[in-house]
């Protein structure tokens, strides 16, 4: 009896978490102009609109450009810092470790106000550069954590072994350290890209109509006029998230194999 109740409870909460996301998926293929059930026949018209209308096309391009630039900038800065923090202890390094994670905690709206003040002074308001910098700030903690975890998996013994076999320090880094840490760095980059893809609040404060991304366009539509294109975008986002989750599991598997071969 208790076991039965436990089962019911688990299923109920899991449904609460998953059903809203699952329910939106079929609606992307609905042939009607309303986003609700029952569906009105199946069509790809909303995907067609997503890929052909000027507004959405621009949003897709903006998302890809800003997301890629954010991932590149955040990954380079974050990985370099993770290398600097590697195998280090002491007050300075622990302050750095804490400070680098703070953007995760600070309320985004407050960060938005501050950046708006600063960016208007230095001329970064309503520019792509400004948006990329802002997204990098909020994406960096994920990269520092992820690259740090990746580097922690590189055993100093392996590096010393390579060095004792005559490899120069940079060769050790390029041929031993980087390949073993690479999955961690890669998942940091993916996290940074996803953070940028999802970010709306900073865009509201710092961007103009020409920097509207997919997420920003969704926000505008949910606010003003709802069209089923939203469901099509949500479909792509959810499928993308599922694929990335699978990818990250695969990466982790491969990493654990790389560190501990049979």
């Amino acid at each position: 009896m208790l076991k039965f109740l436990k089962g019911i409870y688990g299923v109920a909460v899991a449904c609460f978490m998953v059903v809203p996301l699952a329910a939106i998926l079929p609606l992307a293929f609905n042939d009607g102009v309303l986003i609700n059930y029952p569906m009105n026949g199946v069509s790809l018209r909303w995907f067609d609109e997503l890929l052909t209308s000027a507004v959405w096309k621009r949003a897709i391009i903006n998302s890809l450009v800003i997301g890629t630039a954010t991932a590149l900038l955040a990954t380079s800065l974050g990985t370099l810092a993770a290398l600097g923090l590697r195998n280090r202890s002491g007050t300075f390094y622990s302050i750095c470790r804490t400070a680098f994670l703070l953007p995760m905690v600070a309320p985004v709206v407050v960060l938005g106000v501050g950046m708006q003040i600063i960016f208007s002074r230095i001329g970064l308001l309503n520019t792509y550069t400004g948006i990329i910098i802002a997204h990098t700030v909020v994406a960096l903690p994920f990269v520092v954590i992820s690259a740090g975890t990746g580097l922690a998996g590189v055993s100093p013994v392996t590096e010393r072994a390579a060095a004792s076999l005559g490899a120069a320090p940079f060769t050790v880094f390029r041929r031993v350290t980087l390949p073993i840490a690479f999955p961690g760095i890669l998942s940091g980059a993916i996290f940074a890209f996803a953070t940028s893809l999802d970010e709306v609040i900073l865009l509201l404060f710092l961007g103009s109509a020409s920097q509207r991304t997919l997420a920003r366009e969704m926000f505008a539509q949910l606010r003003d006029n709802l069209t089923p294109v939203i469901a099509a975008v949500a479909f792509l986002f959810i499928i993308g998230t599922l694929l990335l989750s699978v990818l990250s599991v695969v990466i982790r598997r491969r990493r654990s194999v790389a560190i501990m071969p049979e």
């Binding site: 106000v113 949500a234 989750s245």
Partner: protein, 393 residues
Amino acid sequence: MTKGDARGHWRSAAMLAPLILFSALFFLWPLASVMTVAVSDPVILRAFPGLGAASEDWSRNGPPTPAMQRALVDDIRSIDDAQVLGAAVRRLNAAHAGFRSLMGRTAAAVRSQDGTDVDLFAVDARWREPEPWRAIIDGLSPYTDEFLLAAIDYGRDENGAITRLPPDKSGNRYVFARTIWIALQVTAATIAIGLPYALLMASVTGWTRHALMAALLVPMWTSVLVRTAAWFIMLQDQGLINEVLVGTGLTRDPLTLLFNRAGVLISMTHQTLPYMVLPIFSVLVSLPKSLMPAAASLGAHPLRAFWRILLPLSLRGIVSGALLVFMTSIGFYIVPALVGGPRDQLISSLIAHYATGTANWQMASALGLVLLGMTGCLYAVYSRFAGSGQIGR
């Protein structure tokens, strides 16, 4: 420290430098300017830069000294940007009624008598009184607590004492109270739903545990906008929830779930539930498996064993989760903006309104500073707590 060690430190510092510089420029500087903008008010000082020095030996209650009158005339004469004077007059008119007409007449007189001395008393008799002078001089300080006080619905009266603002000028305290109330409700809901779920997840193994975990993680990794859109569609009058409710005959008419408190609470609980379950779960799986059988073998009823053993031991996870959920909830913006009504907006919406709607950065910064302070305190408690040893021992 050996030579090689020192070189290693320099190399580490060099690798950290780019990120330190970047964070200082684009994270710390913005937050620091929120703090300074919240307490700075240079509008009046910019219009009357010379008056401060000239009024140092004034008694504040008597008639203005000749030096002050000369300084004021010089200041008015040297303003070449009409907006600077306009902004100062607007601010002063709020503090001292009638200032706009007084300054309008005076500025015109100063401009018409170019180069010669202007007798302010002849231009307007009100200049004989100390009040308008006091209004300017009190406003000269580049720092002010006006916005911080206004953020929590307080202000200063004519004597400088701190008083509550009249009801028509205050509403922030309701928004703060609402923010805290909603965050508390969400925290309570996530404990009520999340604690049994974490217990359940810890009690099973294999694919069941993986499935329960995936049900938490996949939504958590999904875009906030997509999750909010999903709830928007679920909660509509013709949404899935109402279809089921009406279809099964539980209600005759669809319930209103969108643009009200119910929608905000449901959607926020959905978004923060993983932050509650994961810390509790990570504490529970670290407990020895033999605890509950041991309690049972000593004759404790399962409920009693839970109350006396499992609950106290998982308290650390519950408190971590509660702090995390509460801290996240008070900063929410997107969910209330999209599924809430005008009476469900949190403090973030107010900040966004001042910053992007009315370009009142001082007010936005002051409110932001209060929110930042609240979050900072909660985070300090959280990191102390998450870093300290187990409590309840």
